[in-house]
Symmetry: D2
Subunit: 341 residues, 4 copies
């Protein structure tokens, strides 16, 4: 049985596990104050070209989003996001649980536009009743998006300009950032992101780590006492080394980018084959997630041999599914899948 | 330089890391639905003698406390706890962040008594204004406590009776549960705890795991949709295997208890030596934490050679410090420390 | 200068003020336990034909919505509402401030349909990831809606059936309930509402009271310790008499309905005149709110002589405005306005 | 039956009701933007000698405390208060409901000292683990306290100095402020309070109003978008006039102070008689609340003829009760009570 359900089906890149083993019995200080965290931070600052960055390692994506957003917003503010954004849909109300509204706006292929954001802010401040409404206090985007799509550098620049015009920090959820950065379609670097965003996180969980996300406040601009907010959100790992060693390994010798390439390469091979075989794509995604529209009959057959991710019903007889590759996908898996298709 | 600062200075027991490595490339389903989680749950059910238990694996202690307490309480209820309880003091307001008050009551050596709890409930319901007050909705204890002390089986039974009299679940924070269970002074088994408490967690982070706590609702009594509450609290690990494999290993061949014994044995050796050398104990702790009162001068000297944990000032010239042993403490470390003392 | 800005521009019906004066120096017990509250509750139970109802008097609408919704929902649940619902838009995030998401669904003229609600529930439970999402725990409707429109008895019945099928309480925001009940288009009685909804409130602030909303749980189904939740939300008035006397007066000799009729009668006269003069209605509202589309030039002229409520821009040259009548609107005001139009 | 249960048993001072009646049919703008609110604010600014003050009218005390504290604190901060403070005990967890911990410290007769506060801050920042704890972000005092006691000007000055040393706003809950200001023991003026505190409220509910509390930020220092926070807390009255007219009346011709004197005068007469008759005072309170220790037998007798407030049990045979006078207490009531005693 083949398995293309998601990009977190395996454990971690072997180098990470070996490094955890190697450093295992060293006595290290807790809560992210150890030397591996420090080394990892330094390497991330370098690759992001932001030597002043404040960096924190948290455990998972939902946790990271909830913590960062809660730390940035005042209690009368909410966060603007695509209606398809992860925080809008699949975080079980974690943002609201810390008392902030997600101000959902329409998306296109998972993305929001500077124009739409500007309009939202303009409409808000034009409304005579806006003091009775939730202030839009920051903007959330995911890159790649939940549909695997990417913002161009120009789009990010435009978003950044609008956000700063309205004094609203721009925050980028990079759960799958590695896969975005090495996509052929991508024209954005980590340094660009660090320059254009006020906060972002580099996803580890889906890109080769056991767990862990690296939050970057690129301009020495971490919210005051951010560590306490992290603790309050239950996101402060006692053995911070677990995250430090992982990110230190991922950002040594370009490992993060190298393993990301594997996901893209295998996805591209698969997409090519799917095109040749005449499959219908639900969306044209340039990263590691492939969305197909299948007849339900065909899907039933397929599921005998390969596990896929149900996305949503397209109509009464068709279903949208997702196939995901990852850092761990092997070429022979792709071959085997193509044979089945 | 020796280091007795805490019990989470090393990584994980080697068996855990090797098992993570061994299972690393297996494709497993996410969010705790994999076979290792299932196997670990089964083993925990057996050792707790509660075949009906609902079990969940969360990442850390503060997170676990906040999630469990939020799930159990109604919005008009708070949690009764010792004023020294971890939730009262060192969780950065995580309980309040989910809108629940910690109702602190006096402690004795970190413990609360059934009598004091009963009095709290009785006074509450006797107060004509109690509808203007936070209802005591559950009781939190830690075992071992923050001072390393233990509840006797009789004390737990009494607490359990009072709690059930007032329809308030009894919840036990077992961050260091292993160290309590194997202490010579202990007369409580996991099965006792499962029988007397409505919820408890078996700590992994401080007892040999990289991270992870196993929450047990022993009577098939997990709060409704608990998994969603876990997700909302940012406590649902995508790669649930990381926790499953660890707890499966810890509960194979009694590993959890065996490695706990090491902490107690080394602590006992150390305590014996300290007594012989005439040191003043701040508290008589039967587990892996040793609290000493030192002259500040003496402390300064000591800190040249061994890292300890500052607890609090005793008076102008004396300081209370903590020495902690763990699953990882080596006999030669103890010997070296004793020589210095 | 005429003023049709809203329906809370005047103080209270004179009978209310006189009754407050008359009972002013009586010593009464606090927090809603006085005889006037009791009498008012009894009268409301009678007119709603629900002798078992639990009734509470709160101060304002946003407060009432936040308190009732927080009391009904579990922490993993949100409230389904029209995207135009008051809780979705103009309550400054009060629902989210008590940690619950507003699950906005599309509206038609401010109303939601049983079909759309059923679809929402069905889609939710069909989604394999629904445990990662906010559970729809109750349904909120306003009647009249924010656009002044009304649910028919049949529509309410259908909504009630769907809600109960999914075990989700149906809650009706009756900020302007009086104006709905006496509209010619209305076929719903208070008894119908009490029979079909699980909770609702009868608005006082906009229908002749200084302040105050009467929350009704018609089937003796107030959430446990609701009074404590009310207190926690800062919604428990020390001098409960202020609300008791007002609602007792409003529900004596049909005053609530009689004064509501004035709003409808004056609105109907106005609508007739507007139709005759060829004005464009934005929506066909059968209650006390009239929505017009005006050329901006025409609006500017009009605003010299009459204060209206800006609603939103229709296009670059047109604006939607609202004219509101109320219990206090005088026929001569209508006449004067018609002359201007 | 006499009634000395509390100071909110009657409605409002008659002048207030008459003024509400007089202005009743004026069309006024909503949400506190009317001329009566403006006039009341101006008069309060004058009597407080703080021409720059931001002033808001809220409805009740718990609501006011929760709103102000939530607006001032960051999400990682709590509020320091006496363990007997109203927010610590009788607000049903309203502060925690907006996610902030009440950091209770010991009291003396309901008061906290600058020394104790300073110690709390010093200990907090000295603790190496303070980043794992709730930051003390502001200090709450009540004046008069829940025991009717008063801070001297010197004590307030000292508190103010400590607070500002630690950058923590000082907030004064003046639910019964009028009764404090006119007590013979008092040496503090409204101008002193405005100068020494960063926020305070002037209580209306217990001092002659139907409801209402005037929040003063004396140095033009209202938290950003405070009105939105007020709305979010359900504390924004649509008919703001109800509060504006009341405070405008209370601060016209010194009415607030004049009616406060009545409470003090009647309380003083009563205290004198109690002393002469040899009653045991639980506490020496200089304002309108009198706390007595009575034998239970004696209390039973007394309760046949006069309603009092149960405070707490003193021991097995004695009870502490409270007698409260108010702006409305009549001399003949005092006479009648003295005869009974």
């Amino acid at each position: 049985m083949l398995d293309f359900v998601n990009d977190y089906s395996e454990g971690a890149h072997e180098k990470i596990l070996l490094r955890l083993l190697e450093t295992n019995m060293e006595k290290l200080s807790g809560y992210g104050t150890d030397q591996y965290c420090e080394s990892a931070k330094q390497k991330i600052r370098e690759v992001c070209e932001c030597p002043e960055a404040d960096i924190y390692f948290l455990v998972g994506g939902t946790q990271t989003n909830a913590t960062v957003i809660d730390a940035i917003l005042s209690q009368y503010e909410g966060v603007v996001a695509a209606s398809t954004g992860h925080i809008s849909t699949h975080e079980a109300g974690a943002i609201e649980a810390s008392a902030h509204k997600v101000l959902a706006i329409p998306h296109k292929n998972g993305k929001i536009t500077a124009k739409a954001v500007k309009q939202y802010f303009a409409d808000f401040y034009a409304d005579g009743n806006h003091e009775h409404m939730v202030f839009p206090g920051m903007v959330y985007i995911s890159h790649p998006t939940e549909y695997g799509t990417l913002y161009s550098k120009k789009e990010l620049e435009e978003l950044s300009i609008v956000c700063h015009e309205y004094d609203a920090p721009l925050y980028l959820d990079g759960a799958r950032l590695g896969y975005g950065l090495v996509s052929e379609e991508n024209d954005v670097t980590l340094a660009d992101i660090a320059s254009l965003c006020d906060a972002f996180y580099i996803g580890g969980t889906k890109v080769g780590a056991l767990c862990g996300e690296a939050v970057v406040f690129p301009k020495n601009n971490a919210p005051k006492h951010f560590m306490t907010t992290v603790k309050q959100h239950g996101a402060l790992l006692a053995k911070g080394r677990v995250l430090g060693v992982q990110f230190d390994t991922l950002f040594t010798d370009n490992l993060y980018f190298e393993i990301s390439k594997n996901a893209i390469k295998t996805a591209d091979t698969l997409k090519q084959a799917l095109k040749e075989k005449g499959y219908t794509f639900y969306i044209d995604s340039p990263t590691n997630q492939i969305f197909l529209v299948l007849e339900d009959e065909r899907l039933k057959e397929l599921e005998q041999k390969v596990a896929v991710s149900f996305w949503e019903k397209a109509d009464d007889n068709h279903t949208i599914i997702r196939l995901a590759t990852s850092w761990a996908t092997k070429e022979e898996e792709i071959k085997a899948l193509i044979e089945i298709l």
